[in-house]
Amino acid sequence: MDGPDEVVHQPVRLRVMAALTACDPSDEGLDFTHLKKLTGATDGNLGAHLDHLARAGYVEVSKAFVCRRPRTTVKASAQGRAAFARHVAFLKAIIEGA
């Protein structure tokens, strides 16, 4: 059994990855405000966790202006999807092995 993924394991990042991987890979991803609502994190906290995930190559962050307002969109990368799937499998294995 693989060990836990240290990047995904943190609760806010786990929620972020759960939300992003629930979207179809062909979708544009989720915007920052929606992610904030889903994770219950503050702006600064979520931003820091997204930076962490982006540095690991698990998410792709894109910024654009929509109707003159900045919009940050986040999408799970293929690497991130695989890491999240492995981490979920790891958690399930713990429960099954208990």
């Binding site: 979207c23 989720l30 429960i95």
Partner: protein, 182 residues
């Protein structure tokens, strides 16, 4: 790092909860577009019936047909890439329409005022039912707008078509915008 079984279960429950919220949000966003579209359709149709009844005549059917075409276009566009058109949703829509047509035209003996109240409340009943599976926003919209339409049917007198334009048109648009943010 050691993770206990109960901690792992709590994390997986957290994951499931977030995934369910994302799925519901996708349903809401897709449905919101359709609700806004039908708000515009209802607004145009009922305003024309109220303000230019002689000109509209049976042309209201064309306005509704545009709404159906728009609905199919939205369902096709918002479906996950590679997925087929949601035939079950379309079948449910057709069954509701068939039920309504039988009662409105064959069995019900409805007058024009009853027809105008019947069609939107029939489909709003569908929304109220859908809410039992897809989220309470659907039920809130279905029951809330039905109550407003029935109130107009009873109390608005000759202004009923305008009342419908306001409630089934403007009300749908506002509800759709609210649903996009839910």
């Amino acid at each position: 790092m050691t993770i206990r079984s109960d901690e792992a279960a709590a994390m997986l429950a957290d994951v499931d909860s977030v995934v369910a919220k994302v799925k519901q949000s996708r349903i809401y966003r897709s449905a919101a577009l359709i609700i806004i579209l039908w708000g515009v359709v209802n607004l145009v149709r009922d305003a024309l019936i109220a303000l230019a009844p002689a000109w509209v005549g049976p042309r209201w059917f064309v306005i509704d047909a545009l709404g159906v075409i728009g609905t199919i276009a939205i369902l096709s566009r918002t479906a996950v890439a590679g997925a087929r058109l949601p035939l079950r949703t379309l079948a449910a829509f057709l069954l509701f329409y068939a039920f309504g047509w039988i009662w409105a035209n064959l069995l019900g003996g409805f007058g024009p005022r009853e027809q105008m109240a019947f069609w939107p409340t029939l489909f709003l009943f569908g929304y109220a039912l859908a809410g039992l599976w897809f989220g309470t926003a659907f039920s809130a919209i279905g029951l809330g707008l039905t109550a407003l339409i029935l109130a107009g049917y009873v109390w608005s007198g000759a202004a009923f078509p305008l009342w419908l334009a306001l409630v089934a048109g403007g009300g749908f648009i506002l509800c759709g915008l609210w649903m996009r943010r839910a």
